[in-house]
């Protein structure tokens, strides 16, 4: 036989899938998904190292390490904005801080409002940064939210339910300086012959 032996036609069908499996707002639904998933665990949220120590007497060192880890993760994976206004819009006034980068420029990131702290089976601990928003227009208003925008319920609560994934380090979020540096050739070639729509840039 010179042809593909078999093709799973169910996988190849496109139309119904579009509606069934594409969540529009992943960040918002994730909170719900976590709540009803089986492998969730309760994580304690602390607003400071002192807060952590008072909740975990005798674990001063773990609390400090967890805090530092969370801070580092926040710098690496936290939301980054090119201007203060954009950060304030998502996280509220007096909740954003500037960090200098190259060429006398700055980026803006929300302040870490707390960190979740969980123990592991081997006796160690792990942590992840949390933010909250004071902007009424933000979906994270009054809630705990993670570096990737998942919402974890009211920021008044010091306990949240999370799954294992919440503790895993997130990919580093970059600060994008520009877009559109690829694709300029087609703008020049497309205008040829006044054809407004075209079929392919492949061949």
């Amino acid at each position: 036989m010179k042809r593909t032996q078999s093709i799973d036609l169910g996988v190849m069908r496109k139309a119904p899938k579009l509606f069934a499996f594409r969540p529009l707002a992943l960040a918002v639904t994730a909170g719900t998904l976590i709540g009803c998933s089986d492998d969730t665990q309760e994580a304690q949220v602390y607003k400071s190292v002192e807060d952590c120590i008072s909740g975990n007497p005798g674990q001063t060192e773990q609390c400090e390490i967890a805090y530092q880890q969370a801070e580092q993760e926040a710098i690496k994976s936290g939301p980054k904005y090119n201007n203060l206004a954009a950060c304030v819009q998502d996280f509220g006034a007096h909740n954003c801080q500037s960090y200098p980068v190259q060429n006398n420029q700055s980026i803006f990131m929300p302040l870490m409002a707390g960190y979740m702290f969980g123990s592991m089976m081997n006796g160690g601990s792990r942590s992840a940064p949390l933010y909250t928003s004071y902007s009424r227009r933000s979906p994270a208003y009054g809630k705990w939210t993670s570096t990737d925008g998942n919402l974890f319920g009211s920021a008044n609560s010091n306990k949240i339910r999370v799954n294992d994934k919440a503790f895993k380090p997130k990919p580093t979020v970059r600060r994008t300086m520009s877009r559109g540096g690829f694709g300029s050739t087609i703008a020049a070639k497309s205008s040829f012959g006044g054809r407004t729509s075209r079929s392919s840039w492949g061949g």
């Binding site: 010179k2 593909t4 970059r174 300086m177 540096g181 690829f182 050739t185 020049a188 075209r198 840039w201």
Partner: protein, 387 residues
């Protein structure tokens, strides 16, 4: 090899909608045409197409190996000088390729001749790998075609297997798929490849070429400002190497599909180089650079821009007279000259064979038909069988 009329599948347009084949009709004209099909013998496929395709591919790779080591040739191939190292390193590092399509002149007898090698951004992949496969299955099940009818088309199977191989070098990495905005055909092709990669267990994301970002630390970023480290782009290297972000290609260190060395493999300058390195090879047409034309003794030839897409800016010269020319925006980078070898005619149709490779394995064919002597992007796609 012959052309047969066949009844179209009833309601195939509904089936096309169901499977997301959105570009079967373009600019009000049929692109997918199942009112007829081409029939090949197994010998024609294996001896005349499959074997020469693999051999031609190996010859093309030898050209790449020679060109990357030679500054004069890099110039002839119109590779911008600041990217010579980038292209060379990609070849020397053995960056992996996914697929390509060679256009062959073949009418059922004699040697297939290489027209050109679409090794960087070949399209009509979905139509070949899936849609004509489904057509055969439907027509056999409907009793319209012989149960023994086969097809030279293991494209989907081979692409999925190839992605599974590539994944070994990129465990836990996200593969980004990319094409330009405003083209259903390219978007469909890329979606199909994404489906194949997903079937191979790869996590995929899509971003338009125009939306790719550049970060402060010289990474390419997606719309969530995450670094892009592995990317399939249905966008030609010859464009990318001349655009704003080409300066940071090296530092962005993306693993590209197709890899940068495909800038040489997909280049029309490949054709005169092949003829130089493998003179009189039965599957090659005599081809020459501009400065060799005088001594070439070519009387009837086709003039092709070094960079061009979809049959644009091509002219046919017979006995010194231009008898045909297609319009287009290309040609600034110079031309190559190829001996005139007209497409075979089946009725009043001119027929072109696209022969696919997945990495270095021949993987199937596509048949395109045109009323015109030069196949353009609106030529019709026809299914085929082996019997």
């Amino acid at each position: 090899m012959f052309r047969s009329i066949i009844k179209q599948r009833p309601n195939w347009q509904i089936s096309a909608a169901e499977y997301g084949f959105t570009f079967h009709t373009m600019h009000g004209e049929a692109y997918w045409d199942e009112s007829a099909y081409y029939q090949f013998s197994l010998e024609q496929i294996e001896r005349d197409i499959e074997a020469p395709t693999q051999e031609l591919h190996q010859m093309c790779l030898q050209v790449v190996d020679k060109v990357i080591a030679d500054q004069q040739l890099m110039q002839k191939f119109q590779i911008p000088e600041q990217h010579w190292d980038y292209i060379r390193n990609s070849w020397l590092a053995g960056d992996q390729s996914l697929y390509s399509r060679m256009d062959l002149v073949y009418g059922g007898a004699g040697h297939a001749k290489l027209y050109e090698n679409n090794a960087d951004t070949p399209t009509s992949l979905y139509e070949t790998g899936f849609w004509q496969w489904l057509w055969l299955q439907d027509q056999v099940n409907a009793g319209k075609l012989n149960r023994r009818a086969d097809q030279f088309n293991s494209l989907q199977e081979k692409i999925i297997n190839r992605f599974a191989q590539l994944k070994l070098e990129h465990p836990a990495e996200i593969l980004y798929f990319s094409c330009c905005k405003d083209t259903d055909e390219d978007r469909g092709t890329v979606q199909y490849l994404e489906d194949c990669a997903t079937a191979a267990g790869i996590e995929c994301k899509f971003i338009y070429v125009e939306d790719i970002g550049l970060s402060a630390d010289d990474c390419f970023t997606d719309l969530d400002n995450l670094k892009i480290s592995w990317m399939f782009k249905l966008y030609p290297w010859e464009f990318m190497l001349r655009e704003e972000y080409s300066d940071v290609l090296e530092s962005a260190a993306v693993s590209w599909i197709e890899p940068p060395w495909k800038a040489i493999l997909s280049n029309k300058a490949l054709l005169p180089m092949l003829w130089k390195m493998f003179p009189q090879h039965p599957n090659l047409l005599p081809s020459f650079f501009e400065d060799e034309l005088k001594n070439s003794q070519l009387v009837n030839y086709v003039k092709k821009p070094i960079f061009a897409r979809e049959g644009a800016n091509i002219s046919i010269h017979l006995a010194g007279k231009e008898v045909y020319s297609s319009p287009g925006p290309y040609g600034d980078e110079g031309y190559i000259y190829q001996a005139y070898s007209p497409l075979p005619a089946f009725g009043d149709n001119f027929t072109l064979i696209g022969s696919w490779l997945v990495n270095d394995q021949a993987a199937g064919i596509s048949v395109r038909e045109d009323k015109n002597k030069v196949t353009q992007d609106m030529s019709r796609y026809m299914p085929h069988i082996i019997l």
